[in-house]
Symmetry: D2
Subunit: 344 residues, 4 copies
């Protein structure tokens, strides 16, 4: 069985493991105050072209999301998100467990729009009874989205503009950020994202690390006392160096970007094969996740050899499924799968 279910099925890129082994017996400060964390943060800030702001490292995405959102909002505020947003559908109510409502808007290819954010704000602030409803307090989006789609530069600029006008911190979940930045369809650089958002994270777990997400807080006032929050949520790793070292390695010689790009290229080979075969796609993704719509017979055939994820019933005996590539996907696996698609 060759697994394409997700992008966290293997361990870490070998270079990261190698660095962990090399530095294993070094004695360092705990809790993220070691030189590797400092070095990694410095490299990330440089690549983000940030002069101020802070970088903090987390083990996982849900942890990052809940720590950030809990830090930013006051008790009567909620976070605006697409109704397919990860915080809305796949974190067991982690945001509500902090005390905050997720204010959803209907997704558009997995994205939300500046117009939707504006409407939520208008509806709230024009309502004479607004004190009986949750106040919009920030905006959450994923890039790439859970559907593999990408915000255009214009879309993110508009979102950024409306957020700033309305005083809403804009938080970008970049669990798969590498696959977005290196997509041929990408219009955004890391520095663009740093310039347009208030907080965002660079995903490591799904992009070559054993685990780890690097949160970038671009506005210093949002970083106030942030380490207290990390500790309170149980998110401060004792051996923080493990996070620092992995991100230091990923952001040396562009490793993060190189492995992301390779994974995207492999995914696009799959996409081309599905399209060539005449299948339609649930989302038009240019990143490492692909969502072909398969007839049952073909789906079953592929399931004999490959692992992939059921996504959604599409009617007429067809269903959308998800194939993921990653830094660990081999050329051999892709070649074989492309052949098997062609042979369907």
């Amino acid at each position: 069985m060759i697994r394409f279910q997700n992008d966290y099925g293997e361990g870490a890129h070998p270079l990261l493991l190698k660095r962990l082994a090399e530095t294993n017996m070094e004695q360092t400060e705990g809790y993220g105050e070691d030189r590797y964390c400092r070095q990694a943060a410095q490299k990330i800030k440089e690549q983000c072209a940030l002069k101020e702001g802070e970088v903090h490292f987390f083990v996982g995405g849900t942890q990052t999301n809940l720590t950030v959102i809990g830090s930013v909002l006051r008790p009567h505020q909620g976070v605006i998100a697409a109704d397919t947003g990860h915080i809305q559908v796949h974190e067991t109510g982690a945001i509500e467990a902090l005390g905050h409502k997720v204010l959803t808007v209907p997704e558009q290819d997995g994205k939300l729009t500046a117009k939707q954010v504006e409407e939520v704000c208008d509806r709230h602030w024009k309502d004479a009874s607004r004190e009986y409803t949750v106040q919009p307090g920030m905006v959450y989006l994923s890039h790439p989205t859970e559907c593999g789609t990408l915000y255009t530069k214009k879309e993110l600029e508009e979102l950024s503009a409306i957020c700033r006008r309305r005083g809403l911190p804009l938080f970008l979940d970049g669990a798969r950020l590498g696959y977005g930045l290196t997509s041929p369809a990408s219009e955004l650089t890391l520095a663009d994202i740093a310039g347009l958002t208030d907080l965002f994270y660079i995903g490591g777990t799904k992009v070559g690390a054993l685990f780890g997400e690097a949160l970038v807080i671009t506005r210093p006032e949002l970083a106030r006392d942030f380490r207290y929050l990390i500790k309170q949520k149980g998110a401060l790793l004792a051996k923080g160096r493990l996070l620092g070292l992995q991100f230091d390695t990923l952001f040396t010689d562009e490793l993060y970007f190189r492995i992301s790009q390779e994974a995207v290229e492999k995914a696009l080979l799959l996409k081309a094969a599905f399209l060539k075969k005449g299948y339609s796609l649930r989302y038009d993704s240019y990143t490492n996740q692909q969502f072909p719509i398969l007839p049952e017979k073909d789906r079953k055939k592929l399931e004999e050899t490959y692992g992939f994820t059921f996504w959604e019933e599409m009617g007429e005996g067809k269903s959308a499924v998800r194939f993921c590539t990653s830094w660990a996907t081999t050329e051999e696996a892709i070649r074989q799968l492309v052949e098997d698609i062609e042979a369907l």
Copy 2:
């Protein structure tokens, strides 16, 4: 200006005020442990035909809802409600502030159905990734609904049945329960409701009291340690006797039902007048709230003399509005309004 905006514009039914004055200098236990609370609870249990269970008194509805829901759910559970449910739209995220998600389903005339509850449960329990989503933990509904509509006996029986099969406590918000029980369209008695739900409250604030809601917990295991919860949420009134005395009076000689019925009759006079005039209704309500759809001109005309609430734009220059009656609505006010409707 004659106000029909809501059913809490005046103080209390005069009989309640009279009893408060008569007993004012009596010395009683505090915090709901006085004889008036005991008496009122006893009368309510009798009218509910309950042999076990408990009655607790609250000052207001949001307070009742949040104390009940916070007591019933475990941290990873949410409460199923219609998307127009009061807890979803008009309590400033009080449920989320406790840590729980509201799991909404599309309202059907302000109601949710047994089928919807079953679907939410099925979707959850059939999902292999269910641990990453919020588990349905109870069901919340309002009767009458926020739209003035009523559950039929069959609808409530079906909801009760599915809730019991799925182990979900069923909680009925009866902020306007009197107006439901005494509607000519009502198929349900107080004893029916006590038999079909696990927790429900009998609204006093909107039905003749200065303030107060009587929560009935029909299953003893759901009442365990309940007074701790009331206190923790700041909901334990020092002079609890005020609640006991008011409900004791309301449940003596059927006062609660008599004043509710009169208010409903008055509302139905309005309904008849609007229908006779050819207006359609946003909801087909047989309770104390009426929702005519008025052209702008007529709405403006009525606004010169009457207070009522804008509800929703209906297009073509029309809007739905809400008129409420209550124990305090005078015959004179109704007669005048009916005449003015006829004269539009």
Copy 3:
């Protein structure tokens, strides 16, 4: 049985009931936006000599405490209080239920001192590991304290000064404030308290009202979005006028102060009687609560006729008990009790 257990055993001062009856059929706005609330707030601000700031009305003390503290603190912050503070010992963990730790210091006659606050801050800010501990975020005190004692003007000035230097909002719980302000031992006026604290409340429940606490927020920035918080905590009374009207009446012709002063005078007659008889006192209170230490025999004797509260075992067969007076305590009751003390 003549009850001296507490100061909330009866209903309301007759003048308040009279006003409730007189205005009962008036139609007003709900949720505290009526003219009585505005009028009461205005009168209170005047007596506080406040040009800015806001007044909000609550039904009870725990509700007020939890709404205020939840509004002021960020998630990693706690509230400093004496270990006998009401929020620490008698609110079923309401503050923790919001997510915040109570940072206790040992009481000194029920009070905390500026020095203690400074020490808590110093210990925190000098600790290299402070991020792993709760950050002091505000200070809570009661005046009079739960022990009937009073802060001197100097003590409150020092507390205010240290709080301002350290950026900690100072919140004063005035559940029995009237009995403090009118004590012969009082060094503080309402305007002094408004000038020295950032938030405080004027208790009504224990001082003549059916229920009600008037929260004064002296610094506008602490009042931001405050009504959202009140609603979310279930603390926004539908018929808010009941609160406005009661406080309007209490703050007309100094009613609040007159009834407080009478209660204190009666309490001091008891104090004198106990002292004359040779009993010692658990606390040297000059307010409406008195804490004599009685031998068992005398305690039992008094219990035949009077209700009062056991406070604490004092050893050698003696125990401290509490007698409370209030606006409702009659001269006859005091005279009889004084005689019975003398006859012990």
Copy 4:
């Protein structure tokens, strides 16, 4: 500088790193549903002599503590702990952030006693006003304690007995459990602990792993829906295999016990050296943490070469400090430090 500050200054025991490298390219299920997690859980249950119950893996201790405590308690309940307990002093209010009070008792050599637990329960349940206070809902202790001390078998049996009589789940924080079980002073086996507690965790972060704690829930009813809670708190590691593999390795061929025992032996060499030199000890520890009380001059001298932690001022110019050993402490480092102690 040779570091004795803590037991998490290096990476992982080399055997664990080796296994991570060997299995790196294997594709496994995510989120702890892989074969390594199953294998590790099975081995742990066997060594605990448990027929039922569950094992779950966490990345860190605070995360484990907050997930467990939040899962066990109802909203009005608190957790009993020594006032030196980690949850009370070093987790930034993580327990309160869940909504729960820590009910502290004075530590006795870092421990709490069955008698103290009984007293807290008695005080609560005998209090007529208990509903206004937090109900004891579970007991938390550390073994070894934060002070390096150990519960005797009798002490833990008594605690277990009182907890069972009072219906309080007993939770043992074993962040340094290995150092306790292999201490020459230990009276307890892993199976003893599994038999006497309801939940406990076996610490990996401080005992040879890169990170990781293995939570053992000995009573199935406490494990209900537990994975939802782990996910909600952001504690479900995507590549859960990393935890499974490390614990599988630690619990193969007794690696966990062997490396713990060596670290304890090294610590006891230090202890002997300090005692021989005439220093007294802050706590009489037989585990990997040692707490000598040093005169300032000697402390400064040692600080030239060694890293260790200031613990507490002891007066007369002396201070208690902490030296930790671990699996990574070399014989050479110990020999050198012993010599330097002797030379003081």
